[in-house]
Amino acid sequence: MTLTVSDLIVARGGIAVLEGVSFTLKSGRALVIRGPNGIGKTTMLRTIAGLQPPMAGKVDAPEESFAYAAHSDGLKSMLSVEENLRFWASVFGQSDIDGAVQAFDLEDLLPRLAGALSAGQKRRLGLARLLVTGRSIWILDEPTVSLDTQSVARFADAVRAHLAAGGSALIATHIDLGLEGDVLDVGPFKATGHHADPAGFDESFL
């Protein structure tokens, strides 16, 4: 399960923000993406996850291997914690949620409505969702927002366990997770602005 990104140009709102991004992520490794606000970390992760097409370049990975987690957790406030987790597990064809519940210490919260959780608890539930996907490459965008130090440690443990099991993780974050991973600073890849959209204006409508 190797993810290879070569000469990627990603665009936000039709304007290239990052260009020439290339890296390889092997299984068992984590890659931490760093860079200032607005540089295009989120855009790059969305492009790699397949939510938007790249302007140029290639993303090579096995089919259906990504689990994507972004700023919003995709939780339904009128469903309980358990129902939320079970829903995502069945979407990904899994049935076991116990591991995810234990990893993020959600046992006491299971019968509660997700709407009644604090921001940090919601985040924990959102991250627990990664464990029920059964996918090997995690793409995480600022996963530690609103987590306390204890939960950050829990999260780092979960990532470590995932890596040890042969998975890999691509993480955009500003804090030090204490992971033994490589760091990619995307600052030097900032687009210089001479890229016109190769497919032209119509591309957005096709």
Binding site: R46, A49, G50, L51, Q52, P53, E64, F66, A67, Y68, A69, A70, H71, S72, D73, G74, L75, K76, S77, M78, L79, E83, R86, F87, W88, S90, V91, F92, G93, R129, T133, S204, F205
Partner: protein, 218 residues
């Protein structure tokens, strides 16, 4: 897919605005009509099929923007798009959930509302049949409209403007079927046309909806 359907139905029941809202709106429209045109039973029974269809259509419209907008806001759509579910299937299931929470109650409650408008006795069967055949198209077309406007803040009004013209064929043949049934005329042609529109919409529009949804997610 089934998990998505049960989740949507559960949410519709728990969050309110699913089963009850459209039905209550339909009821109010039907009750207001005699106030506005006068309580003459002859006139009412003549316009009843048309009014009932118009009411059903407006009641459907009421909950359209909830089909996708809520999932967009909390990020569920992004996550579903990266999941193994095909987006075409997702929008089809969403349409089905909308029909079960909005269209189906209207079909079941229609005879009661027909009574309020003095619908002629032979018309009830045809009214139910026309709604049962026609309302799925309303949900599917509505989902397409919802997919088009999903990223927009306060897209509800734009959604209505986009979707209402697309409802015209269904309204014409649905109301015509109910009217002919009520007056005891031949009903085959409007029934076939209505069924054709519905099946055509079900077959084609999920693909169009998934396509515009992908563009909107970028």
């Amino acid at each position: 897919m089934i998990a998505l359907l049960t989740r949507d139905l559960k949410l519709a029941v728990r969050a309110g605005g699913g089963f009850g809202l459209g039905l209550a709106f339909f009821l109010i429209v039907v009750i207001l009509v005699p106030f506005s045109v006068g309580p003459e039973s002859v006139l009412l029974s003549r316009i009843a099929p048309g009014i009932l269809w118009l009411g059903a259509l407006l009641a459907c419209l009421l909950s359209l923007d909830r089909i996708l907008a809520l999932d967009w806001e909390d990020g569920t759509l992004d996550l579903v798009a990266t999941s193994p579910l095909p987006l075409e299937g997702v929008v089809a299931v969403k349409s089905l959930a909308h029909w079960i929470t909005t269209g189906l109650p209207l079909v079941i409650a229609a005879p009661v509302f027909g009574l309020l408008l003095n619908l002629p006795a032979p018309g009830y069967v045809w009214l139910i049949l026309s709604l049962a055949v026609g309302t799925p198209a309303l949900s599917v077309v509505g989902t397409f409209g919802a997919a088009l406007t999903v990223g927009l803040k306060r897209g509800g009004l734009l959604l209505s403007l986009l979707v209402l013209p697309l409802y015209v064929p269904t309204l014409i043949f649905g109301a015509e079927l109910a009217r002919r049934g009520a007056e005891g005329q031949a009903t085959t042609t409007p029934l076939l046309m209505l069924a054709g529109i519905t099946f055509g919409a079900i077959a084609l529009l999920p693909f169009a909806s998934a396509l515009v949804l992908r563009i909107n997610l970028r």
